[in-house]
């Protein structure tokens, strides 16, 4: 019995590549830990330090509730920065994303555009604000928020453009061929055969990016680029913990509220699109003509 079962079991595939990878990985980790001066003994201070900060923020004298209106005002500014920044990213990333898709602009063109998008994505928004936009638009008053908006907008182009290109590469080629066959110009093909297929997913990405940008804009104030982060950094650096405590509560509540609303909307958009698509196929399949045009109207609207 043992002989038979041994013969029946297939041979284990070679694990040499996996082993080499694991060794390289562990080597990298050990090197990082050994050469970086982490001072792990300071970890012992962590629980005490955190307890002290929490105590100072919320228990010692209680949160500085009189600062609440200012904190909410700052958070609203962060919200506006994120919204306008996301819009900039959305508007500019759509054409760039289309050009970055292999099935739209061919191998060479799409590769070039992908590299441009990767390059934009490589620079974090805080860095864009510090090194490029604050020097250009200045700091203080409305200029700070403005620099932050541009930084978020430009960084969003990179991430949104990449996602757009990936979604466009996954479309059904049928409608594109149909549009070409009836003599559609390149722009008409995009408008009537590509955009309708990808729009629900792309709008969902835009909303998701907005959620991420809220977090980014809440912290851009660290470098003086507007929003609630400016007051928070001041409070933390000067040890005004009760005030920082109020600001942190405002950030948490605002982000969770926006995430919930935006998540609901995203699900609505994606599921709505799917439901409509299934519904559309059910009625349009027997009379298969015009199904592309029908879908175009329902999805864009």
């Amino acid at each position: 019995m043992t002989v038979a079962s041994r013969a029946a079991r297939p041979r284990r595939p070679s694990r040499r590549a996996l082993l080499a990878g694991a060794v390289a990985f562990v080597g990298l980790l050990v090197w990082a830990i050994v050469t970086l001066d982490v001072e792990p003994e300071r970890l012992l201070r962590l629980p005490g330090g955190l307890a002290h900060i929490f105590h100072a923020m919320y228990l010692e004298v209680g949160p500085e509730w009189t600062y609440l209106p200012d904190a909410i005002g700052g958070m609203l500014e962060s919200l506006q920065i994120a919204w306008i920044g996301t819009l900039i990213g959305a508007v500019l990333s759509l054409p760039m994303g289309l050009l970055g898709a292999r099935n739209v602009s061919g191998g060479l063109g799409s590769n070039a555009m992908r590299q441009v998008l990767n390059a934009i994505r490589a620079v974090p928004e805080v860095l864009l604000a510090v090194i490029i936009f604050i020097p250009i638009v200045g700091i203080g008053g409305s200029a700070s928020a403005y620099a932050g908006t541009l930084a978020i907008g430009v960084h969003s182009i990179g991430t949104l453009g990449k996602l757009t290109a990936e979604v466009v590469e996954g479309i059904d080629p049928g409608p594109v061929e149909a549009a070409r066959a009836v003599g559609g110009a390149p722009l008409q093909v995009q408008r009537w055969a590509v955009i309708p297929q990808v729009m629900p997913e792309i709008v969902a990405f835009w909303l998701y990016r907005f959620e991420i940008n809220i977090r980014a804009s809440a912290i851009l104030g660290v470098v003086g680029a507007g929003g609630v982060g400016e007051a928070l950094t001041q409070a933390m650096v000067f040890g005004r913990f009760p005030r920082a405590g109020v600001i942190i509560i405002v950030i948490i509540v605002a982000t969770i509220l926006i995430d919930t609303a935006s998540g609901w909307l995203r699900r609505r958009i994606i599921q709505g699109a799917e439901a409509r698509r299934m519904h559309g196929e059910a009625i349009e399949e027997p009379a298969f003509a015009a199904s592309g045009a029908g879908r175009a109207d329902t999805d864009v609207g």
Binding site: L28, L29, A32, I33, T35, L36, D37, V38, E39, P40, R42, L43, R45, L46, G49, L50, H52, I53, E77, L79, Q80, W83, I84, L87, N118, A122, V123, P124, V126, L127, V130, I131, I132, P135, I136, V137, A145, Y146, T149, L150, R215, A216, A218, V222, V223, G226, G229, L232, T233, M236, I248, I251, I252, T255, I256, D259, G294, D297, T298, G301
Partner: protein, 269 residues
């Protein structure tokens, strides 16, 4: 199909637009106006962008040529950034693995455990990584340690969310098979769920590592180690030629790491 449709009916009627679409559009327009307006919002208008862009070209010209003599001084801090990202990714993704099983209904039937874990993850993700860095710097002092701690929290939030959603969607067949064979819950996770999500887990970990490289480059601005420290110093002295060197260096570094990571992900998944 054989009978030709009467000419008047060849084209189906355009479906009526839902009133909700109009409401949604008006809401969108009003919100955008509020955010961009001078009185209530950030005072954003396109004309200003164009003026700034022309002015910006002049200012950016001052950044060039980058001061390449400064480059050798950035190698040490850049290495520190990389090391912080490596350590934080390993710890963060290591912690995230069990946490994500606890945050999925598939592997955690206990409603209370599940809800507690989910809410904790939502709470962690509600705060930006730089804020964690601010708090940890206040708690343990400046240096790479608070940076690593901030990145670890951030990683657990991201990885556990992505992975728990993957666990939610696994094929239930192997789980039923393991249950039928009398496996304990740990055995089910180990032999039925883990093999299904392992490729995704590796992909997410690499993705998080990429995020960490970018994030750890700026953590130093609040004193949490790495190249960000230098950014802070140079910007106080308005040494934009030096900042340009740092920007280009970070850019090249992130770019190379991403290429490697994409190549690895393609090989593994």
């Amino acid at each position: 199909m054989t009978t030709a449709a009467p000419p008047g009916q060849a084209r189906p009627a355009r479906p009526a637009r839902s009133p909700w679409a109009i409401v949604a559009f008006l809401g969108f327009a009003a919100f955008t106006w509020w955010a961009a307006s001078d009185e209530f919002g950030i005072g954003f208008d396109v004309a200003r962008v164009i003026t700034n862009l022309t002015r910006g070209a002049d200012i950016l010209a001052e950044f060039f040529p980058p001061n390449w003599e400064y480059l050798p001084r950035t190698f040490g801090p850049m290495l520190e950034t990389f090391q912080m990202a490596v350590i934080a990714s390993v710890i963060g993704c290591g912690v995230a693995l069990p946490v994500s099983f606890l945050a999925s209904r598939v592997t955690t039937p206990n409603l209370v455990t599940y809800l507690v874990n989910r809410s904790l993850l939502n709470l962690i993700r509600a705060l930006p990584d730089l804020l964690y860095a601010l708090i940890f710097v206040a708690a343990v002092g400046v240096g790479p340690l608070p940076g690593i701690l901030a990145l670890v929290l951030f990683n657990v939030g991201v990885t556990a969310k992505l992975l728990s959603e993957t666990v939610d969607g696994v094929d239930p067949g192997p789980i039923e098979a393991a249950n039928a064979a009398g496996a304990t819950r740990t055995q089910v996770v180990r032999w039925s769920v883990l093999p299904q999500v392992l490729p995704n887990y590796v992909a997410y970990s690499l993705y998080v590592f990429e995020l960490n490289i970018r994030a750890s480059a700026v953590l130093g601005i609040v004193g949490a180690g790495g190249i960000g420290n230098l950014i802070n110093t140079e910007r106080r002295f308005f040494r934009y030629d030096n900042l340009m060197v740092i920007l280009i260096e970070i850019f090249v570094f992130v770019f190379v790491i991403e290429l490697i990571s994409i190549w690895l992900r393609r090989k593994l998944v």
